[in-house]
Amino acid sequence: MKAKVAFIGNPNVGKTELFNRFTGQRQHVGNWPGVTVEKKVGRCVCYGMELEIVDLPGTYSLTAYSIDELIARNFIIEEKPDVVVDIIDSTNLERNLYLTLSLLETGANVVIALNMWDIVRSKKIKIDVKKLEELLGVPVVPTVAITGEGVERLKEEIVKAIKGKRRKVEWSYGRDVEAVIKKLQEVIKKENLREYPSRWLAIKIIEGDEEILKKIEDRCKDKLLEIASQIKDGETLMAERRYRAIEKIVEEVLKKEEEWSFSDMLDHVFLHPVFGIPIFLALMYAAFQFTFSFSAPFSDMISMFFSWLGELVKNSMGNEILASFLSDAVLAGVGSVLVFVPPIFSLFFALSLLENSGYLARAAFVMDRIMHRLGLHGKSIISMIMGFGCNIPGILAARTIENEKDRIITVMINPLMSCSARLPVYILIASVIFKSSAIAGAAVFSMYLLGIILAIIMALMLRKFLFKGEAPAFLLELPRYMFPKIGSAIRDMWEKGKWFIIKAGTFIFFVVIIVWFLSSFPWNATQGGVNIENSYAAMFGHFIEPALKPFGWQWQAGVALFFGFLAKEAIVGTFGALAGESARNAVATWFTPLTGFAYMAFVLIYFPCVATVAVMVREIGKKYTLLTIAYTVSLAFVVAGFIELIGYLMGIS
C-alpha cells in the first residue's frame, strides 16, 4: 500500500531534520513547477506501508502572500495528501498553532509532531499532550528530531491516521463569524464548489483571499462576497479570532510557572500599545542627538586639517590658478564633504546598535499599528527605516511587499525618508543658524519627523486617489533581544558608511571641480575667484534666483540645489567650493534661522537624487517615477513656503 505524506511547519522547527530521519538517503531534490523554490521528496517504508514524503516550504500560515505559503496550501488543497504532519516548535506553541488551526480549517488529515521536546523538558514547561489531542481532534506526538526520540511513535500514528479517519473538531471563531461561515457554506454547497473544503473556502472568502477569489471569478463570486461583506476587515478579524482560539488552547494545555524571560519583560514595555510609539520616537531622538553632538569634535578636526592644508597649498604654490584649484576646489570642496564622515558614521553606528539589539524589528511592529490604519503595509516600515540610511536599499527592500499597490506606494514615499546624504546639509545649516547645540540637534531631528509625517500624508493621498483598497496584515518574527556587540556594530557602520568616503573621492570631487570652474571663471572678471559675483556660477545662480527669491535664499543656495539633483551631498560640496575658505561663515551670511530651516526642509523633499531615480524607474516604471518627481518638487515649494509663512506670522526672522 502506498500513501502520500506532507511535512509542514514554521521555519526553524526541525522539519528538515525530521524529514531526513524518515527518508535517510532516499531523497530527490527538484523545484516546484514554475518556480525556483526547492522541492524535496523522499520515500520510506513504515509498518509495511510505503510512504512518499514531501517536505513543504517552511511557512507561518496558509495565506497567499508569499510563494512558499501558496505552494504549501495548493499542495494540501489540490494534491490532498493522505496525512499532513504538522511539525511544531513545542517551546513556542502559541506561534506555531496558528498554522495548525489554518491546516485544520482545510480538513486535512493532520498528525502533530511536538518537536524540540527535550527543550520543553529542560525548561520545565508542562504540556498536556492528551488535552491537546482532545482539543484539536488529531494525534499529537512529542519528538526530538535531532536524537530521533519519538520518531517511531510518530510513524505509527501516521500509519494509523492513513488507515483511520480523524475525529472532526471545529473551532468556533465567534457567533458573528460562524453565522456568516454557515451562510457561505450553504451557497458553496448549492453552487457545487466541491473541489474546495467548504468551511475553508468560506473563511478564505471572508478574508478576501485574492487567489481564491480569482479562482471562483465566474462562479457566484459576487453572491459570496455580498454575504462576506457583513464582516468588516475580515482578514484581520480572522487572524484575531484564530489567536483568541489559540490563547484558549494554550491556557488549557500549557502549565508553566509564571516566569518571564528578559525578552518577554522588555517586549511588554517596548511593544506596549501606549508606550511603544513614544519609546520608538525617544530612541530615534537619542540616535540623532548622538549623531549630531558626539561627532562634532571629530568633524572639527577634519575641518581644521583641511583649512590648514588649504592655506599651506595656497601659500607655497606659485601658479595662482593651480593654487586656487587645489585649495578652493579640491581641498575646500572635498574637505567640506569629508567633515560629515563622523556624523554619518555615528548615525550608522547608532542604527546598527538598535538593529543588533533586536529593537529595530520591534520598531517596525510598533509603527505598523499606526501605518496599517493609514493604509500602509506593515512591511513598508522596514523599507522606510532603511531609507534613513539610503533611499536605494529602502526602495529595494519594498520588493518583499507582495501586493503591487502597496509596493508602489512604499517606493513612491521612500524619497521622503531623510537619507544620510541629506544629514550633512542639515548639520551644516543647523549648527550655523542655531546658537544652542540642543536646538540645532532638535532641528535636525525635526527634519526626520517632517519626512515621516509627509510620507504618511502622501501615502494616505496615494491610497485614497490612486491606489484604492486596504493594506493587508503581515506576520513578523521578532528576534530575541541581545546585548549589541560593539565590534559587529563597528563593522556594520563601516560597511554601510564607506560609500560616503568613496563618493566624496569620486563623484563629489568632480562636482566641486565643476563648481570651482563655474565660480572662478572668467578668471580675470572674478579676479581669480575672489569676486564671485562676476562668475559663470553667479550668472547661472541669478538666472534661477527668481524661483527662490520669495524664500529669501541667495543665488548660491540655488546653485547648490541644482547640484543636489545629482547627489544631496553635493550641496555641501558646492557650498564649500562657492565659499572658498569657510563654508560655515558663508552659510551664516546666506541664511537666517527661518530661511535656513525652510531650506533644510526643501532639501529634504525637493527631488530624489539621480541614483534613486534610476532605481525607481527600474522598480516602479517611468510613469510613477515621474509622478514622484513632480509631487516631491511641488511639495518642497509648498512646505518651505508654509514654514516661512508660519515663521513670519510668529515674528521669527
Binding site: V269, A282, Y285, F290, P297, S436
Partner: protein
C-alpha cells in the same frame, strides 16, 4: 520568582523617586531653564517625560509582585542607561572640543547623573527579576 514583598516595595519606591526626578529634569529642559547640568532641549525633555511615565506605570503592579510591574522598571532602566551613556559620550566629545579650544569646559548633563542614580535599582531588578 525570587522577589520578596519588601524588595518589591523598595523597587516601587525607587521607581517612584526615579520617575519624579526624571519628570523634574524634563520640565526644566522643556521650559528652557539653563542651569549647569541642564540645557534647553525640548525633544530631550519629552524623551525624559516618556522615561518618567514608564517608571510611574510600573509602581502599582510592582507592589503586587507582578512581572508586568518589573517589566516597566526594567524598560525604564534600559532607557535611562541608553540616555545616560549617550550623554556621557557627548560629554567626552565636549571635553575634546574644549581641548581644541572650540568651547568652554562642558558640564555633564543631568541624564548622566540620573542614569548613575538608577544603577542600584538596575542591579536589584537584574538580580531578582530577570
Amino acid at each position: 520568582m525570587k522577589i520578596g514583598y519588601t524588595e518589591s516595595k523598595i523597587m516601587a519606591l525607587y521607581s517612584m523617586l526615579a520617575g519624579i526626578a526624571y519628570f523634574i529634569v524634563a520640565i526644566l529642559e522643556i521650559t528652557g531653564i539653563d542651569f549647569r547640568y541642564i540645557s534647553h532641549d525640548i525633544f530631550g525633555g519629552i524623551a525624559l517625560i516618556v522615561i518618567a511615565t514608564i517608571y510611574f506605570a510600573g509602581i502599582k503592579e510592582t507592589l503586587k509582585k507582578s512581572y508586568r510591574g518589573y517589566s516597566f522598571i526594567l524598560g525604564g532602566i534600559i532607557l535611562s542607561l541608553i540616555f545616560g551613556v549617550m550623554h556621557l559620550l557627548i560629554y567626552i566629545a565636549g571635553i575634546l572640543e574644549y581641548a581644541m579650544g572650540n568651547s568652554g569646559f562642558p558640564f555633564p548633563r543631568a541624564e548622566i547623573i540620573l542614569a548613575i542614580s538608577v544603577s542600584p535599582l538596575a542591579y536589584l531588578v537584574y538580580k531578582k527579576a530577570v
